[in-house]
């Protein structure tokens, strides 16, 4: 049986909403990656920093969510046949977010020996989510690319 929305083209509202919440979920690990790169752990308490960062991201999510709702009608009227650039942005965010989860695991005191296992598990999940999102919403089927 064919899925009901296989041929449906989604408006920019749906795409921006997906991108916004995806970014908000990954923002914490992405910022942690940057702090990890520049050894911020030697200057500030990472757990405290992480806690305040989470509160900041939660408030940002609330504000952003409300803003998105106010722009809903305007964004609903904008439609594109495919959202290639948006998908590329999502790919980059996922790559850094993935590393961010590994950094978070390291900061939380996880055993470094198992970092590869953690990365592989999150990578598999992320690839699955990205492929499904790409096919269904962004109209970008990576697996069919030559």
């Amino acid at each position: 049986m064919m899925p009901a929305n296989k041929g449906k083209i989604f408006s920019q509202y749906e795409i921006i909403t997906i991108m916004f919440y995806f970014t908000m979920v990954l923002l914490h690990p992405i910022i942690l990656v940057i702090t990890y790169l520049f050894d911020i752990a030697s200057v500030v308490d990472v757990l405290k920093f992480s806690f305040w960062l989470m509160i900041g991201i939660l408030s940002l999510t609330l504000v952003g969510g409300v803003l998105l709702l106010t722009q809903k009608d305007r964004l609903k009227r904008r439609v594109k046949p495919a959202y290639r650039n948006e998908y590329i942005t999502l790919l980059f965010l996922s790559a850094f977010g993935l590393l961010g989860f590994a950094v978070l695991y390291d900061y939380l005191g996880g055993n470094r020996q198992y970092i590869a296992n953690v990365l592989t598990a999150i990578l598999a999940l992320m690839v699955y989510v990205l492929i499904v999102l790409g096919r269904k919403y962004f109209k970008f089927d990576y697996m069919r690319q030559k």
Binding site: F38, I88, D106
Partner: protein, 374 residues
């Protein structure tokens, strides 16, 4: 069987091509005779081409941003240009400001702590680990000492290398110094300059040349923008992964991965070698196999997932074509040739495709004016 005689038309064409070839050879011969004058002129052209070329390439990256700002109502051109220019300068300055101290401290640490260990390994432990046995190592070492091979090679190569480096660096530094001024004027009057360039083309060819120029701009621009994005991403990811696996000097090795990523295929090997050799010599964790594995996985993900999506079909070329173009343009233009081999090859393909399309279109155009009725 009687051989078909050559038609007048074909003979004319052969004579025409022969005459062109002869004329070309004659011009080449004359050019060789006056090589000293030519080298003087070529040097002058080079001095102009490097900064203008850099300005053109930078404009290909910055102009879409200016157009985007203008589309969003941020104008006039001066304002949008100022925003993009200040943003670019800020990013470059921030990169240098934050990255340089890390790189410098890691290089200093390397030469203070690890370099003596590597020298010790080369003169001591390597003898025991030598794959052909200790005798072969001793004989090789003796031969190297007696023949003074390394010293002779260094004496012959170093001055030449320094000379080449000077002749490459000086024009490049000059070009970088005047680049901001050139870029401002170029971006300020981008459309006007394009129109002026179009106005010198004969009217009959104007449309075709403009189309070709636009296609070339699109190809080279897509390559540059994609490549910079990829370099930044892969460099950052490599640095983080190196740090995660506990590799010392992760910053320098990560930056190296980002920089060498500009050279297709060979860049991967160039970036993987130093950390692998380093971990092999120094020992401990991470092992050389893990470092090599990380590089292979990174390059696999970059080459098979990110590059095809970002570069799209604009630069999809057979690996053999890319490798051949790297070797060819590398030997012609040195380091710059290696870096720009892929966009040059892609541009040649665009030109070739364009002329093929033009020829096909000309062949398909119906002959007008004649009576088509039977």
């Amino acid at each position: 069987m009687k051989k078909k005689p050559i038609s007048d038309d074909r003979l004319n064409r052969i004579i025409k091509y022969l005459a062109i070839a002869l004329l070309f050879l004659a011009v080449l011969f004359m050019a060789v005779q006056f090589s000293s004058v030519w080298s003087w002129i070529i040097d002058a052209i080079k001095a102009v081409i490097v900064p203008v070329g850099l300005a053109y390439l930078s404009a290909l990256i910055m102009f879409p941003l200016i157009k985007y700002l203008e589309k969003k109502g941020i104008g006039p051109r001066g304002l949008s240009l100022a925003i993009v220019f200040l943003l670019s300068v800020g990013i470059i300055f921030a990169l240098f400001y934050f990255v340089t101290p890390f790189v410098v401290s890691e290089i200093t640490d390397f030469f203070n702590d690890e370099f003596p260990k590597i020298l010790d390994y080369l003169t001591g432990d390597l003898r025991d680990d030598f794959i052909f046995g200790t005798d072969a190592y001793d004989r090789l070492f003796e031969y190297l000492e007696e023949s003074d091979l390394i010293n002779n090679w260094l004496n012959a190569t170093l001055p030449n290398l320094l000379n080449q480096l000077g002749s490459f660096l000086f024009p490049l530094l000059t070009a970088i110094a005047i680049l901001p001024i050139l870029l401002i004027y170029y971006l300020l009057d981008y459309e006007m300059l394009s129109d002026r360039l179009r106005s010198i083309i004969p009217q009959k060819q104007e449309k075709a040349v403009a189309e070709l120029g636009s296609r070339l701009n699109q190809t080279v621009g897509a390559y540059l923008r994609g490549q910079i994005l990829l370099m930044l991403a892969i460099g950052t990811v490599a640095t983080i992964v190196y740090k995660l696996i506990g590799l010392k000097y992760y910053f320098v090795f990560g930056v190296l991965v980002g920089i060498t990523n500009i050279i297709p295929y060979f860049g991967t090997i160039l970036a993987a070698l130093p950390p692998t050799i380093y971990t092999f010599i120094i020992g401990g964790t991470p092992g050389p196999l893990l470092v090599l594995g990380v590089n292979v996985v990174l390059q696999f993900i970059e080459g098979n997932i990110f590059q095809p999506i970002i570069m799209a079909h604009q630069l999809q070329m057979h690996p053999l074509v890319i490798i051949t173009s790297i070797l060819f343009f590398g030997s012609l233009f040195g380091a710059l040739g290696v870096i720009f081999a892929s966009p040059i090859a892609a541009s040649i393909r665009v030109i070739w495709q364009f002329f093929r399309e033009q020829r096909q279109a000309a062949n398909m155009t119906p002959i007008t004016g004649g009576d088509a009725s039977p």
